[in-house]
């Protein structure tokens, strides 16, 4: 992120008075703790942070923080976050939501934020199910999964969120899990500090509609640290290779961090504004632009 503060903040400074109403045991309880810790490490005051979400269990998360929050429209967290960032580039802008919000109804937006390199951190709480609406098949549900909308098992291959964002050229891609809160907080912090679009996929189990192997104990069994594997996060092709294991293994840590981050969309807009400002008309003459001479 563009700037960090100097004042020391504690995780509790980012915790709102609103009590989470997730199901007891939900992975999102750990995720919000990870976000508090990451924000404390960044040190920006809550009023300098905008947190936007879509719709879903996980999209309640901005309300549990003291940042400015917008629990918006299903699948539209990213366009709204983008508008906020363009209108006020100094804000630290976070977006969050579930896998359905991000990769189904909102799936079309991610590609455009990536190609523009918007300086936004997008946190997806991936639970492979639509939990809030009571257990329908989601875009990341495994093939063969039986739900109320796939009585005889899903016929569809799941979306691979990691490969999806890597293929579009995201500059920062990571995965985390409530099985390792310290690692999750570190990854979120690193994502926020990355100057450009950063994506963090968090495998956050749904205790009510999720499958047994996707609960914390099951996730622990298939977890592997990318750092422990000796993965070089500057190697995009290696990251894509590892990302193909999504759904079978759970690699935790940074898949890819562009070692030479390109300018953000905000940087380019500012540059263009500076370039054109010398010929800009005063406000009262702005309509002259539309009058044929």
């Amino acid at each position: 992120m563009s700037a960090t503060g100097t004042c020391e903040y504690q995780p509790k400074d980012y915790k709102s008075d609103l009590k989470p109403i997730w199901c007891p045991g939900c992975g999102d309880f750990s995720v919000v703790q990870g976000i508090y810790r990451a924000l404390a490490a960044i040190g920006r005051p809550p009023h300098e942070i905008a947190f936007v979400s879509g719709i879903g269990c996980s999209s309640r998360i901005p309300g549990y923080t003291t940042a400015y929050g917008f629990n918006s429209v299903h699948g539209r967290a990213l366009p709204i976050a983008q508008g906020i960032k363009l209108a006020n580039p100094d804000l630290l802008v976070l977006a969050a939501g579930g896998d359905g919000d991000g990769f189904s109804i909102g799936g079309g937006h991610i590609a455009h934020l990536i190609r523009r390199n918007m300086d936004i951190t997008y946190i997806v709480m991936d639970n492979q199910i639509y939990g809030l609406t009571k257990g329908q098949l989601s875009p990341t549900s495994q093939k063969g999964r039986t739900t109320c909308t796939s009585r005889y098992g899903s016929l569809e291959e799941p979306v691979n969120p990691l490969l999806y964002v890597l293929a579009y050229g995201a500059g920062f891609v990571a995965q985390a899990s409530p099985t390792d809160l310290v690692g999750m907080a570190a990854v979120i912090e690193e994502a926020i500090r990355y100057p450009g679009f950063a994506f963090v996929n968090i495998q956050s189990p749904c205790v009510t509609y999720g499958e047994e192997e996707h609960q914390i104990k099951g996730l622990k069994a298939i977890s592997e640290s990318l750092a422990g594997l000796g993965h070089n996060p500057a190697d995009r092709l290696a990251a894509m290779d590892l990302a193909q294991h999504y759904g079978h293994k759970m690699h935790l840590g940074v898949f890819y961090r562009n070692p030479e981050p390109p300018p953000t969309y905000g940087d380019l807009v500012k540059e263009r504004q500076t370039l054109l400002s010398k010929d800009a008309l005063p406000k009262e003459r702005i309509l002259d632009l539309f009058i044929k001479k």
Binding site: Q10, P11, K19, P20, I21, C23, P24, G25, C26, G27, F29, S30, R37, A40, A41, T133, K134, G135, Q136, T147, C148, P178, D180, L181, V182, A185, P205, V207, T208, Y209, Q215, I216
Partner: protein
């Protein structure tokens, strides 16, 4: 359970006391969260037990804080909450909607066993005699906490051995 950035070999008594206070604070907050969750899911027996644990953790935290102030006043601390996770606090996934008082107590007991394990594992790396004595005391304290929870478990009626699944419907898809 995770810990980061703590060098046991060079841990001072002041920082060891602060670490112990942070561990109690975390556990207290987690039990408060669990009690709220149980209230929201209309499970008052489990909520009541979790509040009992809040009081226990708070009491121990206050005792440690008093010792810290008496010995070191308000000298700045070198340890912070971001260095620890789930040492004595029950794991978030230990809670379940509609959990019985028995399940709540079992979750707390598992956490006390986990905390005891933390102090046992840390002790061999500690060099300072006073810090070692404190960690040994805290290790024994966790055994005492286990005894308290076991006493609460013993007070439950045999009916409480029913599983949550015996009287809660499966989630209904719509």
């Amino acid at each position: 359970m995770a810990i980061r950035g703590i060098d046991y070999a060079n841990l001072s008594l002041k920082d060891a006391l602060d670490l112990a206070i942070l561990i109690e604070d975390e556990a207290q907050e987690r039990y408060e969260e669990f009690a709220t969750q149980m209230d929201q899911h209309r499970t008052p027996e489990a909520a009541k037990f979790f509040r009992y644990m809040v009081e226990n953790e708070a009491k121990h935290g206050r005792e440690l804080s008093a010792r810290r102030v008496a010995r070191f006043g308000d000298a700045p601390s070198a340890v912070s909450r971001t260095m620890i996770y789930d040492i004595e606090a029950p794991d978030y996934d230990a809670a379940r909607a509609f959990m019985s008082a028995r399940k709540a107590m079992e979750a707390a007991l598992a956490s006390e066993v986990k905390a005891h394990g933390f102090f046992v594992a840390a002790l061999p790396a500690i060099k300072d005699a006073e810090v070692r004595a404190l960690f040994e005391e805290l290790r024994e304290e966790e055994i005492l906490h286990q005894t308290l929870v076991k006493a609460e478990l013993a007070k439950l009626s045999p009916d409480s051995q029913l599983s949550d699944e015996d009287f809660v419907d499966e989630p209904a898809p719509q």
